[in-house]
């Protein structure tokens, strides 16, 4: 009797987890299958008939292809700026023991969520306009940097705090200048944190629509998040065959970045720190 019950509860648990898994897996499956389907559909089904024609048509859309490159420039540029600036700032803020640091960052994080949000778009546009930054990559990168920096600093400071000071002290006594110390000892040890922040920044910018939409004019500078709308009909409904194919292309760089970083550096900390 109790064995029967146990089997039953095991079965129920398995079914439950399978359903949960399926719930999250289905959209990804659709993203993998739909681009190769000749018929536009929202159902997850084996492509019938199988075709590569969707991709041909997407590749033929030079505006959309150029947009992928633009996204890469914007996301990559912001990633590099935010990661570098946040690392140095987090390091300085942590080691200099700035008073009221916590209050300062929480305040900044609060404000920064406004910067990339809808409410601040008008002043930001006016500001960018006054600085001559409208319709430039630099303008978009700077707005994103401003918006993402506080959170990035916040994340990185935890990594800095976790770093025993004796590494830096040892480097200083060994004769390293402050810059040599940061370059040779601090930055490599913070690399896992920098990777986290870098990828996080990249993903944020990669998927962002509003800021580039407001700040950019020329179609040749638009990123993919905007260009995907070129696969919509006049009436504003997506052409499922093409949007799915483009969405798949759009997803690849993020995946590639993650896999590359994971393979090259790994999201782990170096062993051997004894305290």
């Amino acid at each position: 009797m109790s064995a029967f019950r146990m089997i039953l509860s095991r079965l129920a648990f398995s079914i439950f987890t399978t359903l949960c898994g399926a719930f999250f897996a289905l959209p990804m499956l659709w993203l993998l299958l739909a681009p190769f389907n000749a018929r536009g559909t929202l159902a997850v089904e084996i492509p019938r008939p199988f075709t590569l024609e969707n991709f041909e048509r997407v590749f033929a859309n030079t505006f959309a292809m150029r947009a992928l490159l633009n996204s890469l420039i914007l996301a990559g540029g912001t990633m590099i700026t935010v990661t570098l600036v946040a690392t140095l700032a987090a390091y300085a803020l942590s080691r200099a023991e700035v008073p009221y640091y916590d209050l300062l960052t929480y305040g900044l994080i609060l404000f920064s969520s406004v910067v990339t949000g809808t409410a601040a778009m008008v002043p930001i546009f006016l500001l960018a306009n006054a600085l001559g930054l409208v319709d430039t990559y630099l303008g978009v990168i700077m707005v994103f940097t401003g918006g993402l920096l506080p959170t990035a600093i916040f994340i990185l400071r935890d990594f800095v705090e976790g770093l025993p000071r004796s590494y830096e002290e040892s480097a200083m006594v060994s004769g390293a200048s402050p810059w040599q110390m940061v370059r040779d000892v601090v930055m490599p040890l913070l690399r896992p944190g920098m990777m986290v922040v870098g990828i996080w920044t990249f993903v944020q910018v990669w998927g962002a629509f509003l800021v580039p939409f407001v700040l950019l004019r020329t179609p040749e500078r638009m990123p993919a998040a905007i260009a995907i709308y070129s696969f919509y009909t006049e009436a504003g409904t997506p052409i499922l065959t093409l949007t799915s194919a483009y969405a798949l292309l759009y997803a690849i760089p993020v995946l590639a970045l993650y896999l590359f970083v994971n393979a090259r550096y790994g999201f782990r900390f170096f062993g051997g720190i004894k305290r």
């Binding site: 004796s166 006594v173 040779d184 062993g271 051997g272």
Partner: protein, 361 residues
């Protein structure tokens, strides 16, 4: 290679006085041990010399140069941290070579020097590993190698052996002593282990609560501790302190339970140093005490409290009144537990401390 001079050095952290008006001169090529209990300010003193802390007051000289306001980079000292602080992302080779790299030595020269030092320290076959893949003893040698690779003005060691097991520690100790003597580089060695300080140092400075209590050679400090703190900090087991009262007329010391010890030849000196009836501490090292057959003018009656055979000798603790006294005896038939025994106190080797702890005689 240089003298190190500290003048009225003081360091406070808020209300905490970590180092209190420390004046000290360490000779060129000397191996100097800073010894004291936890929290007495040893590490802070070392960090002041290295430039990692800024003194609240006072001056520091390395060689003829005043370095008080110089950053660590400009002081040309090498420090071995308690946790070694080997950079986990660099190989042992890169770790040891780092001080040369920041000094912009050519790559080939760095490699040659690192190999040379690594040979001496017997870690030449570990150069390609990361610190995380080394044992504690190997890490320690790598950290020492990183200090040795450039010939600094001084070595600063902060309890470098405290992470090692007992056997490795003895080995490393002899090794460090040998190395320091052959290189002749001025060394400050911080430790809370009195045996380590005694074994390694040319001179020892004993610290307590930020103050330097006594500076001297290991034997000086062992034989004539300046106060009861130093007396009980040095030696294992430490010096016995017996509370007595001086009776001038009879020239005896009276214990609290009424037993008396004749002062003999030292009575005259004590008369000059102490008032009649003044309380004092009688200090005797455990190895100077012995057991006697029966009563005598300098014998005390005691009861055996514990017997600990250590191989070469036996550690016997006896109880007189409520005080415990340790004896180091080299005898084949030690007394048995709770037995009544006679302890002979050799007055010619005894020290006399005032009630406040200062050495009087």
């Amino acid at each position: 290679m240089a003298r190190i001079r500290l003048e009225e050095l003081r360091k406070t952290f808020g209300p905490v006085v970590a180092v209190d008006d420390l004046t000290l001169s360490i000779e060129d090529g000397e191996f100097f041990a800073l010894l004291g209990p936890s929290g007495c300010g040893k590490t802070t003193t070392l960090r002041l010399v290295a430039g990692l802390e800024r003194p609240t007051h006072g001056r520091i000289f390395i060689g003829e140069r005043e370095v008080t306001d110089l950053p660590p980079q400009a002081r040309d000292v090498a420090m071995v941290f308690q946790d070694y602080a080997l950079y986990p992302h660099m190989t042992v080779m890169e770790n040891i070579g780092y001080p040369l790299r920041v000094r912009r030595y050519p790559r080939a020269e760095i490699e040659r020097r690192v190999r040379e030092v690594a040979e001496v320290l017997q870690i030449a076959d570990l150069l390609d590993r990361r610190p995380g893949q080394l044992s504690g003893g190997q890490q320690q040698r790598a950290a020492v190698a990183r200090a040795l690779v450039y010939q600094p003005q001084a070595f600063l060691f902060d309890e470098p052996l405290s992470n090692l097991d007992a056997k490795l520690r003895l080995e490393a100790r002899s090794f460090l002593k040998h190395l320091q003597k052959s290189l002749g580089i001025t060394t400050i060695y911080v430790t809370h282990d009195q045996a380590e300080a005694m074994a390694l140092a040319d001179r020892i400075g004993v610290m307590d609560r930020g103050r330097l209590l006594q500076v001297g050679t290991p034997l000086e400090i062992y034989r004539r501790p300046r106060n009861t703190f130093v007396a009980t900090f040095i030696g294992s087991p430490p010096m016995n302190l017996i509370r007595c009262r001086f009776h001038s007329a009879e020239a005896v010391l009276a214990l609290e339970d009424g037993q008396a010890i004749a002062l003999g030849e030292r009575g005259e000196a004590l008369r000059r140093a102490f008032r009649d009836g003044e309380p004092l501490w009688l200090g005797v090292r455990p190895e100077h005490l012995s057991l006697a057959e029966g009563p005598g003018p300098t014998h005390l009656s005691a009861r055996v409290y514990a017997v600990e055979p250590l191989g070469v000798e036996t550690l016997v603790t006896v109880q007189i009144n409520n005080e415990r006294i340790a004896l180091r005896l080299s005898m084949d038939e030690p007394p048995v537990l709770r037995e009544q025994v006679w302890v002979r106190v050799p007055m010619e080797r005894a020290l006399f401390f005032r009630e406040n702890g200062e050495l009087a005689l």
